[in-house]
């Protein structure tokens, strides 16, 4: 059943780089929407930016790195997650997919329906992306976005740009590819268990094809097989 979506007419452009915002506005116009460029200065709180989007547009396309030029004190992934929570279809865009997907984006990825590489941005991908966002805010997940409870095994923990990160395998997704995520996703009482070899259960969208699309939540420590277990090797 196709759910009727509230029409998207005005799309907010959130970008700290004015020239990029102008380019995006052109694409949005070609895609058939009216672009609304959100200007700074400096957003201190996510709610301030969200409020501004909400009063001026029906949807948003948000750049991820908003901090370097002082546009905001938070990143775009956090802003998109807040917009999605308010059921405003919002798409995250970046030219740093390979660098930022594992940690600063993954932290919010559960609530970021679509991550678009700037390289792939064109009117078609914008329409498709915003439609996917609109469906997800109404509870309709693509198979690649649907979470399933599964087993995760920790390879090791590391530091990346001051954040504690976890490198792990999700064997039901791909037993031969490790995935990095921020330790902040694991509830504080469980973090001391993040040792090499430890297994957890978590909800993960294992129907996703690409590692950068995976998100994690609802962590729970899995039991270690103990000596009395029949199956221990």
């Amino acid at each position: 059943m196709v759910v009727a979506e509230p029409e998207i007419r005005r799309v907010a452009v959130v970008d700290d780089d004015r020239s990029q915002a102008d380019v995006m506005s052109e694409l949005i116009r070609e895609a058939g929407y009216e672009p609304i460029i959100i200007l700074g200065p400096r957003f201190e709180r996510v709610e301030d930016l969200v409020g501004k989007v909400r009063e001026s547009a029906d949807a948003a396309i948000c750049d991820h790195r908003l901090q370097p030029r002082g546009f905001a004190r938070f990143n775009g992934a956090e802003a998109v997650a807040a917009l999605i929570e308010l059921r405003i279809p919002s798409l995250l865009i970046t030219q740093y997919v390979d660098i930022d997907a594992d940690v600063s984006i993954r932290r919010w990825r559960h609530h970021v329906p679509v991550l678009l590489s700037r390289d792939d941005a064109d009117p078609d991908s914008i329409v498709q992306g915003l439609n996917a966002c609109a469906r997800e805010v109404h509870g309709e997940h693509l198979p690649s976005r649907r979470p399933w409870r599964t087993l995760i095994q920790v390879d090791e923990t590391n530091q990346e740009s001051g954040d504690q990160v976890v490198d792990a395998h999700i064997p039901s997704w791909n037993p031969h590819q490790a995935v990095r995520f921020p330790a902040a996703l694991v509830p504080p009482p469980l973090r001391s268990n993040l040792a090499p070899g430890a297994c957890f259960f978590a909800k993960v969208n294992i129907g996703a094809d690409r590692a950068e699309d995976l998100y994690f939540f609802d962590f729970e420590l899995a039991p270690e097989p103990e000596p009395e277990d029949v199956l221990l090797g």
Binding site: P143, L151, Q153, P175, G197, I206, G207, P223, L232
Partner: protein
């Protein structure tokens, strides 16, 4: 009415037997296709999961299946692979421990020819033809007498046969290789079946000649339908020599690969194929299916399955210019780099 569904899970294996009593899952490859299938068929209880061997492409899906709160699993049957010390084996032990403690899943630590009695569901027999219990006691990675190499997990694959009202319908031999075939024939000299899910996705059978192995297996099974459960772009399956050997032994057999091998078509169809059945298939979204998921109605006088042979053949003729199954009459593609894989 009972049926057996061989899911397109990409490279790997997964089949579901569904009858009036419930459901049995045979192997659980990667991904979510099995979960989508169970949802589509409104199956929330699985009587037993049978694991042929603990390679990830046969077992990784179990790590998700066992943790689904809305799906109950009665029992899991598998043979030990402790000697192999693989990551997936440890992960499987963790998942089984959790399932047994919290959800009372019965874990049977053997799946051998003595397990068949436990798996009867009249009028359907779920037969375990191999390995023998003695072979399972040695275990994958265990030493064989006479200085032969250690037992491989593939040789130890549990070979499952579904028999309905005395008719052998389907043979599911995991990743059986040449030594495994010898063990199988020692236990069951005539492993006949109407449908054979070809072992190891049509990859190489250990060190043996692939054509000879395929011809020997197809000669003893005499199947009308050969299903190759493959993932396009993974491990370059099926091997042309395997198809050649299979067609040498059973030239009339319908060869049905779940996905469209890059050996058969360099590019994928631009539109969704019309011949596929309605079951979930991993290749569907990217138009990567060849036969896709294959579903067999069990217990009829003749094999009845979807997708129908005629529709599949029309698709192959149109979309697979170098199709291996068309009798290998077309020149083969240059030999693709073969990845080593499970």
């Amino acid at each position: 009415m009972a049926d057996l569904t061989i899911l397109d899970v990409g490279h790997g294996n997964c089949a579901i037997l569904r009858d009036e009593r419930g459901a049995v899952v045979i192997d659980a490859g990667l991904g979510v296709t099995l979960l989508e299938f169970l949802e589509q068929r409104e199956i929330t209880g699985i009587d037993a999961v049978l694991i042929s061997h603990a390679d990830a492409d046969h077992v990784a899906g179990l790590l998700t299946l066992l943790t689904q709160e809305h799906i109950s699993v009665g029992a899991v049957f598998l043979n030990t692979e402790t000697l192999r010390k693989t990551a997936i084996w440890h992960q499987l032990l963790v998942a089984l421990t959790d399932a047994r403690r919290r959800r009372a899943v019965k874990v049977h630590s053997q799946l051998t020819s003595t397990s068949s009695e436990l798996l009867r569901r009249d009028p359907i027999e779920v037969q375990v033809l191999a390995p023998s219990p003695e072979l399972a006691l040695v275990g994958a990675g265990g030493k064989q007498p006479g200085g032969r190499p250690p037992l491989s997990a593939n040789a130890m694959s549990a070979v499952i046969r579904i028999v309905v009202n005395g008719t052998p319908e389907v043979l599911l031999p995991g990743d059986l290789d040449t030594p495994g075939l010898e063990y199988l024939l020692a236990e069951c000299p005539e492993p006949r079946a109407r449908v054979l899910v070809f072992p190891h996705h049509g990859g190489r059978p250990a060190r043996a000649d692939p054509a000879d192995f395929a011809a020997r297996l197809c000669t003893v099974v005499r199947a009308d339908v050969l299903v190759f459960s493959i993932g396009r772009g993974k491990h370059a399956t099926p091997q042309p020599e395997v198809i050649r050997g299979a067609l040498r032994a059973t030239p009339e057999a319908h060869i049905a690969c779940t996905q469209l091998s890059e050996r058969c078509a360099a590019s994928l169809p631009s539109t969704p194929p019309a011949h596929l059945n309605e079951r979930p298939a991993r290749g569907r979204a990217g138009n990567a299916c060849c036969a896709g998921t294959v579903e067999l109605a069990l217990g009829g006088d003749t094999p009845a399955y979807t997708p129908a042979r005629a529709g599949h053949r029309t698709f192959v003729e149109r979309e697979a210019p170098t199709a291996l199954c068309m009798g290998l009459q077309t020149p083969l593609l240059p030999v693709l780099k073969e990845e080593r894989g499970p």
